[in-house]
């Protein structure tokens, strides 16, 4: 199968999902819009980690730091009284996260393997404690965004007012589409190929004289900036940030999302975010579990274990699993009708 048909095959479901999401507010109530907005923000967050873990092979256990710092930058930099301007607040939030990613990456990339995982965790914890314990953050109570949600204005003409839920929804959807498209292009570029090479066999890359460090660092910074974008959107949506946004549980959740969806695929990250959020709603639902719903952590924990054990390729790999079962051996599949 030639590459173009393959690309179309991959692009089609993505475009269909995009269309469905664009039409969703028509059929759903205000809660549905809220839920979908939240899930899309998490999808952006998952995509940003996918760049680091899935495409470059750098298992970062501290990604929540960028997410949380993006959110905190949004609330701390917003002016006290009037609504902030989207034009500078959004880049500022992404910039803050990217800056910390630069700092974290520069230092962490000196370590390898499991030590790398732990060092990224350590840096995330540092950011957590700075926000939790020092006067910089609001402490464990978090900070509310009191001045109203940002607007994008040209002079006195308001283009985008994020205070309105529907506008926020489409803004987030647009950001998700932009992030997805940006990463898709990035991964197909020379830069992306370099990252793939680093993931496959870094030593070999270096043996050919290729300097891998700047590429890894760049991946860190881009990934951090995108997580900062997700953090900005999250802070705007809730008008509130809290140190728990930087906790290692948050870092763990996003890792679960991309593994659940399928490592190495951008679609997997988005799918994983949706699946994880909906799973949580499922297990908390009293309609299905009755009084046992209060123990929803149990269902979630078991699902995570089973998913990682049985679906190492994630949900994206499900279709391939079925194909193999239904179509038999590869030889038979080749002869079978498409």
């Amino acid at each position: 199968m030639d590459t173009r048909a393959n690309n179309v095959k991959k692009a089609l479901p993505v475009l269909m999902v995009g269309a469905l999401l664009a039409l969703y507010p028509v059929v759903s109530g205000s809660f549905g819009i809220d839920l979908a907005t939240k899930i899309m923000v998490y999808a952006i967050y998952a995509l940003s980690l996918e760049l680091l873990v899935g495409s470059t092979g750098l298992v970062c256990f501290g990604h929540a730091a960028f997410f949380g710092l993006g959110g905190y930058a949004t609330v701390l930099l917003a002016p006290q009284s009037d609504a902030a301007s989207l034009w500078w607040l959004l880049p500022a939030a992404m910039g803050t996260a990217a800056l910390y990613a630069l700092f974290m990456g520069a230092l962490s990339l000196r370590t390898k393997g499991v030590y790398f995982i732990m060092v990224t965790l350590a840096f995330a914890q540092m950011a957590y404690y700075v926000v939790h314990d020092t006067p910089l953050g609001g402490g464990t109570d978090g900070i509310y965004l009191n001045s109203g949600k940002p607007v994008a204005a040209l002079g006195s003409w308001v283009l985008i007012d994020l205070d309105r839920p529907l506008t926020l929804y489409y803004f987030v959807l647009g950001s998700l589409a932009a992030t997805f498209f940006f990463l898709a292009v990035l991964l197909r570029s020379t830069f992306g190929r370099a990252l793939a090479g680093i993931k496959a066999n870094e030593q070999r890359m270096r043996a050919t004289g290729f300097s891998t460090y700047p590429y890894k660092l760049a991946a860190f910074v881009v990934s951090g900036a995108l997580a900062g974008l997700a953090g900005f959107l999250f802070a705007v949506k809730d008008a509130y940030v809290n140190p728990e946004l930087l906790s290692w549980h948050q870092s763990g959740s996003v890792l679960i999302m991309i593994i659940l969806g399928g490592l190495g695929h951008l679609r997997g990250a988005v799918l994983g975010a949706f699946a994880f959020a909906l799973l949580q709603e499922l297990f908390r639902s009293e309609a299905i579990f009755g009084a046992f719903a209060k123990h929803w952590h149990l269902g979630l924990g078991l699902t995570i274990i089973v998913c990682v054990a049985v679906l190492p390729r994630g949900l994206i790999g499900l279709s391939k699993l079925f194909k193999r079962r239904l179509a038999g051996t590869p030889k038979e599949a080749a002869h079978a009708k498409p």
Partner: protein, 392 residues
């Protein structure tokens, strides 16, 4: 199966899941939807259960109906996590379209609920979260509290400690809003009666390694220590304090949370401690005795202050509902009725201030055995000053 069909199928499945998630509950005619947002998991889970038990007990005593409307419960687990609070409260308001919200335990979560309640003009009764702001700067006609404000018990404690002859005190608590409010209120009450708070110590929430700070307290040699911790932190602090030998020379005081629900775990270490709270054991009024009996019969557990707060939340709701004949859209009449009412609570009768916080007696309790025995009244009909409230 073609690519298009496969994609379409998988996506429709996902879409169905997304549409199903915000399950629209059919509005049964006449039923009043009460949304309980309480911690059902995590450190405060026991408190959440106690509050729900208390609330349900009251509704059951009224035959399952308040003002002629049957009560339907919807529950959301808030996990005592303020970062998820806005999401969770939106579930109650937007997905389940509740008429009344009851919650929460954690002050941070309660504040998020209050904000959402203000925005959507939904009735909210707070059965615990003591953040001063809820009936202070954030007060609103549709927000009520059946519990306490952090200021009340700590201010009363200040008076008590001073009346017991102590001149120099140190406060110690976690570094968060509730801790700061308690420590400052104690300082206010203590210094008003002539005492002096020489040091205000804090440690990050929810740390429980106190040894270093206890050593510091011993070095400073105050006359008394006022501490606010809750749950496991309270157990550990009281035990560590006694184990460090401080309780002999420097008596430990605190709001009732330091010794409520924790006495069995604290054992010897807590004996003889004085605490202040709007409820206690051995109150010995007929009302309280009846409540305790009914609660023990229904749940095979002894009630605590949280159960009482849940019970009284039900009472407040009943009072308001009766006045508006079950029509929750009449917020002004609801509030007016509650402001005029006297709630016949197991803790003793109380009224609600203009800011909708209980005006109540703060009892002085002493730990004897496994009980926080009420030995006196630390402050009579104490009303929170509701600083910043524009409703007064």
């Amino acid at each position: 199966m073609t690519t298009i069909t496969k994609s379409f199928l998988s996506i429709s499945l996902a879409a169905a899941a997304l549409l199903a998630a915000p399950l629209a509950h059919a509005q049964a005619q006449g039923k009043l939807k009460v949304g309980l947002m309480l911690p059902y998991t995590g450190t405060y889970a026991a408190l959440g259960t106690a509050i729900e038990n208390g609330f349900r007990l009251y509704v059951a005593e009224q035959g399952g109906k308040l003002a002629g409307r049957e009560i339907e419960f919807v529950k959301v687990d808030d996990e005592s996590d303020p970062s998820k609070a806005t999401d969770n409260v939106n579930k109650l308001i937007k997905r389940d379209s509740v008429d009344v919200m009851v919650g929460s335990v954690h002050s941070g979560v309660a504040v998020a609920m209050a904000r959402a309640a203000k925005e959507s003009n939904t009735l909210l009764i707070v059965p615990n979260g003591g953040a001063d702001a809820i009936t202070g700067a954030m007060c609103a006609p549709n927000i009520f509290r059946s519990s306490f404000s952090n200021w009340q018990s700590a201010y009363a404690a200040g008076g008590v400690v001073s009346s017991q002859g102590k001149k120099k005190a140190i406060t110690i608590t976690w570094k968060y809003a509730a801790g700061e409010e308690m420590a400052n209120a104690f300082k206010e009450g203590f210094e008003k009666s002539g005492g002096q708070v020489v040091k205000q110590m804090t440690l990050p929430f929810p740390g429980v390694e106190f040894q270093a700070l206890l050593t510091d307290i011993a070095a400073a040699k105050p006359d008394a220590v006022f501490a606010f911790f809750a749950g496991a932190g309270a157990v550990k602090f009281v035990k560590d304090y006694a184990a460090a030998g401080l309780s002999k020379g420097i008596p430990l005081y605190g709001p009732g949370f330091l010794t409520d629900g924790t006495l069995e775990a604290q054992g010897e270490a807590a004996q003889g401690m004085f605490t202040t709270l709007h409820y206690g054991d051995a109150l010995n009024t007929p009302r309280d005795k009846a409540f305790r009996l009914a609660y023990a019969k229904a749940y095979k557990l002894q009630p605590d202050v949280y159960a009482v707060q849940g019970y009284d939340a039900g009472q407040i709701l009943a009072v308001g509902l009766k006045a508006v004949k079950g029509d929750v859209t009449k917020k002004a009449e609801f509030a007016a009725a509650v402001e005029k009412a006297t709630i016949d609570s197991p803790r003793g009768p109380f009224t609600l201030s203009k800011a909708h916080n209980p005006v109540q007696n703060i009892y002085l309790r002493k730990v004897e055995g496994n009980e926080n025995k009420v030995v006196g009244v630390a402050a009579k009909s104490l009303s929170d000053p509701a600083r910043g409230c524009r409703m007064q």
